[in-house]
């Protein structure tokens, strides 16, 4: 299982991820993503992979849901 995570240092708040993965990502009022750490599967996993590819600053990551990092 995988889940999405954002690197908040590289993220510049372009917001594409929220459009491509609305199942897990919302934007705050300043345009930065609020990510739901629930693992993604099925269609959501495909949306997640597309969002990761689309991120202009490569700030969105798909990682193993078992990773110790928060």
């Amino acid at each position: 299982m995988k889940r999405v995570r954002v690197n908040p240092i590289t993220c510049e708040g372009h917001g594409l991820c929220a459009e491509l993965l609305p199942e897990r990502i919302q934007l705050d009022e300043w345009g930065f993503p609020i990510v739901d750490p629930e693992p993604v599967a099925g269609e959501a996993a495909r949306h997640a992979a597309r969002a990761v590819e689309a991120c202009p600053t490569l700030a969105l990551l798909l990682e193993a849901a078992s990773d110790r990092s928060r």
């Binding site: 908040p8 240092i9 993220c11 510049e12 705050d28 300043w30 930065f32 990092s69």
Partner: protein
């Protein structure tokens, strides 16, 4: 277990004669190597003890604020490939804490012993003690102590003092490592954590200087001695910084589990009626005077009251000061202390600080709902824990000063005195 060496283990029974601070000279000067050895004795030779086992049995936890078990961290570094590196963290950025500065300034050799003992146990050849640039006394004391030892305890570990930029975030573990690597004192995205890849990409042990000083005593006197004070869950003694409305503000050594009111008594008692206590520094929480009345200096006890002990920095807020006004000043400082790297921290903390500033200025619009939402929203969204700490502090202010915020909304404030020391802003 190691046999006691020539020196008797320093004792501490309740608030009273110190243990860690036993070697502080009454003259107020840093202890020399001879003075240090006459109080604490020699460190046992590296091969004679199993340091991680002694630390494990002692139950020592990190004293920089996070409270992570020290033995676990030692073993995590030891389990990595490559020769480890040791960093003693004395870059105390918390404005209301002074305990690391006191420790380094008066007992530089105890800190160096701890860094050297950890380095020996891990097979590290170099240990750096990181201090804040503004801490001139600490840098002087430490540099003199290193010179006195001829660079290392037995020449196998090179000891070095490094001055790091001032500031709240510079002492964060990953910020410290990034500064040592490339001169940028800002947190990094993790993983990798320093224990995996730290200074010069080596597995790096970053430990608070007080933790290392305690470790140096555990190496000498063992876990049974360490556990002779404190509680079973939170053993040992620790340094506490107390300021605000007390007669004798300063750094005190107490057994963990000491009642808060005993610490206050030791600090000469209160000088005014008390409104609240700030416990755990600017990353900590406010505790109302009543909730704090029977509190003790234990992480477990304070957590059950919705607070945390953290790095044990305590401010006594008198009734002549207003909790909302003081929180607004501290929140502004925390927002301005952001490393400026993560959007949610940059914009979120600023919004929270502005909201508190409007409340403090008695603007009548009630925006507490939106404020609570922002506070919830910044948690966990920075590369480091800066927004989380600020959020915990803000949350406690809204809870403990609920009555004061109502008053502010009706155009009243109960106290104009400024108590919290905010760097760069006059009180």
């Amino acid at each position: 277990m190691t046999a006691m060496r020539a020196t008797r283990a320093p004792e501490l029974i309740g608030p009273g004669p110190p243990r860690l601070l036993a070697g502080v000279s009454s003259a107020g000067a840093p202890s020399t190597l001879d003075e240090h050895l006459s109080v604490y004795g020699q460190l046992p030779p590296a091969g004679a003890i199993d340091l991680p086992a002694l630390v494990d049995a002692s139950g020592l936890r990190g004293l920089g604020g996070a409270g992570f078990p020290t033995a676990t961290k030692l073993r995590a570094v030891a389990s990595q490939r490559g020769r480890p590196f040791v960093v003693a963290n004395g870059a105390e950025g918390e404005p209301i804490s002074g305990k690391d500065k006191v420790l380094v300034r008066y007992l530089p050799h105890l800190v160096l012993d701890g860094a050297a003992a950890a380095a020996h146990a891990l097979g590290a050849r170099e240990a750096i003690v990181a201090l804040s640039r503004a801490d001139r006394d600490g840098i002087d004391a430490l540099s003199a102590a290193i010179a006195e030892r001829g660079g290392g305890l037995d020449k196998r570990v090179r000891l070095r003092a490094v001055a790091v930029p001032d500031g709240f975030v510079a002492g964060e573990e990953t910020a410290l490592v990034q500064f040592l690597n490339r001169g940028v004192a800002k947190p990094t995205f993790t993983p990798p954590l320093p224990f995996e890849r730290g200074v010069g990409k080596a597995p790096t042990l970053v430990q608070n200087v007080e933790t290392l000083a305690q470790l140096a005593l555990i190496a000498r006197f063992g876990p049974v001695w360490f556990r002779a004070v404190g509680t079973a869950d939170e053993p040992g003694s620790a340094l506490v910084t107390i300021s605000g409305a007390v007669a004798e503000p300063g750094v005190y050594e107490v057994a963990l589990g000491t009642p808060l009111r005993e610490l206050v008594a030791q600090a000469g008692g209160v000088t005014e009626h008390v409104r609240a206590f700030l416990v755990g520094g600017f990353f900590g929480s406010w505790l109302g005077e009543r909730e704090a009345a029977d509190a003790s200096l234990l992480e477990g006890d304070l957590r059950s009251r919705g607070a945390r002990l953290g790095a044990r920095a305590i401010v006594v807020l008198p009734t002549s000061a207003c909790g909302i006004c003081e929180t607004a000043r501290a929140m502004r400082y925390l927002a301005d202390s952001s490393a400026g790297q993560c959007g949610p921290c940059v914009y979120g903390l600023d919004a929270i600080a502005r909201s508190f500033e409007r409340l403090a200025a008695q603007q009548s619009r009630d925006e507490r709902k939106q404020l609570s939402r922002w506070i919830q929203q910044v948690r966990g969204r920075g590369a480091c824990r800066h927004p989380d700490g600020a959020a915990a502090f803000a949350t406690s202010a809204l809870k403990v000063f609920a009555r004061e915020s109502e008053l502010h909304l009706r155009g009243r404030c109960e106290g104009k005195r400024r108590v919290l020391p905010i760097p760069g802003i006059a009180a």
